[in-house]
């Protein structure tokens, strides 16, 4: 049994490697940043597409 507050904070990735080589930066931050970058590129691509064929 752990305290209620324990479940409220971000849970360490105990099943995964917890951090990257950069102290305090979770490993998955890079993946999330990549996904958001892909989204921004898609947004820009669709904007170009809509304007190009308007």
């Amino acid at each position: 049994m752990s305290s209620p507050s324990e479940s409220l904070h971000r849970v360490p990735d105990t099943e995964d490697e917890a951090v990257t080589g950069v102290p305090g930066v979770p490993k998955w931050s890079g993946v999330y940043a990549l996904v958001l970058t892909v989204f921004v590129l898609l947004l820009l691509g669709m904007t170009w597409f809509a304007r190009h064929f308007a």
Binding site: S7, L36, V38, F53
Partner: protein
């Protein structure tokens, strides 16, 4: 449909279902049945999450939406990548660490039993009805265009999905979804190629896109900040974020899919797979609809795509009125076809004045055909108020049946049934699991061992299957009811998300406070819904914000009344 089409159709859907039963024949315990022993890889999870979200009506309606209104609907999904990142980073690790079977079990561990039941009850209200709709909606369309008895289509789809979901559980659902999604993607890809190949020889892909663009069908992105516009980048990112957070983070039909992952990494990768691929997939399905629109500039479509309904009226006493509309449409379409060809020639000539004049003529011709289609809809509505006046759901299937080669017709009908089976399977699997774990084992039989709980899960899954089939068979479902189910979802999603956000981020708020915060928020959402003129999508945000605020206030008012201890 020829014998070859039937062979492809039944061969595809039955062999996938049979594989699901065969691959999971060894059985296993409750853990295996509800979480597939957590041995599923990220690719299967990704396809399974995608297949759960994409119901048959997605593949019937979305191309129709591209045909009718253009590609703006894609913006609805813009909140999804960020929502999936939050689910992968916050929700998922907690679910896995606490080894829960359902999302609502987490509410029980974090707060108390009554909050767990509240979350589960909201889920039943949404998904219990939706399971019937996901069987009914494609069945009514396919039955209409293929002249199949509706009852047989509903029963066939329902019984098939119940058999493999009950016998194989979560693993069978994930495994079959992998192949069903593969069939869907291959089928839609082939349809995309065929529509381009079917364009007239002198119309290149660039020309086709230019026609779609000139007709306003390719406006995928609208950067204006206008809350009256249904689809903009901002409403998509903001509204879509709350909707997707609630759907992927707190709806058991999705949570159960990614909890089957063999590790946290596999589950996360499955979610990121969707964060990256869902928007392009929707983009291409809408683009397919826009290209079908261009195809029908050179090939006359029916004036009303639900041709069975139209033909009935043509044979009725008012048949002369409908025949006159048909004639007007033939004439208007011939004028438009010529205007489109003239515009393409003017565009190629690089003469801006000629191009502008031809574009105006083409737009006017398009408006004329739309006027005639509107007359058709009005005449149908006047002839019979029970008739659904919108025919956009019938656009794509009409194109498939009339213009795809035999064999591929069967494959595309299989796409529709694969989508219906995959989303229904997830719903039944989740409804059965939630009934067994959050109600039966939690309230009625707390001492039940795993073997007993496994049997109960199978019975509850079968029970929900029967409920869904009965709902689809006997309810007189029309357009309004389908929309009503969507509205019902939005009304409850906000509060459910609020319960989970309080659980994750407001550590001092306890069970009794969040329970009453949720009840008050949900009551007010229902009151607002019946008294205010707000688009129902906004209730996702309003319900969530009110649940969080009222939970905080209740925690201040109820000092010391913790409403149960967290056991995490």
């Amino acid at each position: 449909m020829t014998a070859l089409d039937y062979l492809v159709l039944f061969g595809t859907i039955i062999s996938i279902a049979a594989y699901g039963v065969w691959a999971t024949r060894s059985g296993g315990g409750l853990e295996t049945y509800l979480k597939g022993d957590q041995r599923i890889g990220w690719g299967t999870i990704g396809l399974s999450v995608m297949a759960t979200q994409a119901s048959a009506i997605t593949f019937l309606s979305t191309p129709g939406q591209g045909y009718e209104s253009g590609m703006g609907f894609v913006q609805n999904y813009f909140g999804m990548p960020l929502a999936l990142i939050i689910v992968a980073g916050v929700f998922l690790p907690i679910y896995r660490r606490l080894k829960v079977y359902t999302a609502y079990e987490y509410l029980g561990k974090r707060f108390d039993g009554k909050t767990r039941l509240l979350g589960a009850a909201f889920f039943f209200l949404q998904r219990g009805l939706a399971a019937g709709i996901t069987i009914y909606a494609p069945a009514i369309i396919v039955s209409s265009v293929l002249n199949w008895p509706l009852g047989v289509t509903v029963l066939g789809t329902g019984i098939l999905v119940v058999v493999y979901t009950v016998t194989g559980g979560s693993e069978a659902v994930s495994l079959t979804q992998r192949y069903q999604m593969a069939v869907i993607l291959i089928g839609m890809g082939i349809a995309f190629v065929v529509v381009l190949a079917k364009m007239p020889a002198n119309v290149s892909t660039g020309d086709a896109l230019a026609v779609a663009g000139a007709m306003g069908k390719l406006e995928a992105v609208n950067w204006e900040f206008d809350i009256n516009e249904r689809y903009t980048v901002w409403s998509g990112i903001f509204g879509g974020l709350f909707l997707s957070l609630s759907y992927f983070g707190a709806d058991q039909s999705q949570v159960q899919r990614y909890l089957t992952g063999r590790s946290l990494r596999e589950s996360r990768m499955g979610l990121m797979f969707n964060a990256v691929l869902k928007i392009p997939m929707q983009f291409f399905i809408l683009l397919l609809g826009a290209l079908v629109f261009v195809f029908y500039q050179f090939e006359r479509p029916p004036v009303f795509f639900n041709e069975a309904v139209w033909e009935n009226q043509r044979q009725s006493e008012q048949g002369a009125e409908f025949a006159a509309i048909d004639e007007a449409f033939v004439e208007a379409h011939a004028v438009k076809e010529a205007a489109v060809s003239t515009w393409l020639a003017a565009r190629a000539s690089s003469d801006p004045a000629a191009e502008s004049a031809a574009r105006s003529a083409m737009t006017a011709a398009q408006m004329r055909t739309e006027d005639v289609r509107e007359q058709a809809r009005t005449a149908l509505a006047a002839a019979d108020t029970e008739i659904k006046a919108s025919d956009s759901d019938y656009v794509f299937i009409t194109f498939v049946l009339d213009h795809l080669p035999h064999g591929l017709v069967g494959l595309l009908i299989a796409v529709i049934f694969c989508a219906a089976l995959s989303s229904t399977a997830s719903e039944l699997n989740a409804l059965g699991a939630t009934t067994a774990v959050d109600f039966y084992r939690h309230v009625f039989n707390p001492g039940a061992d795993d073997a007993h709980s496994l049997a109960a899960s199978k019975w509850f899954t079968a029970m929900w299957g029967v409920v869904a089939i009965a709902f689809a068979l006997f309810a007189n479902l029309v357009e309004n009811l389908i929309e009503a189910v969507n509205i019902l979802g939005s009304i409850f999603y906000g509060t459910v998300l609020g319960l989970f956000l309080v659980a994750f981020f407001l550590k001092h708020v306890r069970g009794t406070a969040v329970f009453w915060g949720g009840i008050i928020a949900q009551t007010l959402v229902i009151v607002f819904f019946f008294n205010l003129e707000i688009s129902y999508l906004w209730y996702n945000f309003i319900g969530c914000a009110m649940c969080v605020c009222f939970s905080l206030m209740a925690q201040l008012i109820l000092p010391g009344r913790n409403g149960g201890q967290a056991t995490a």
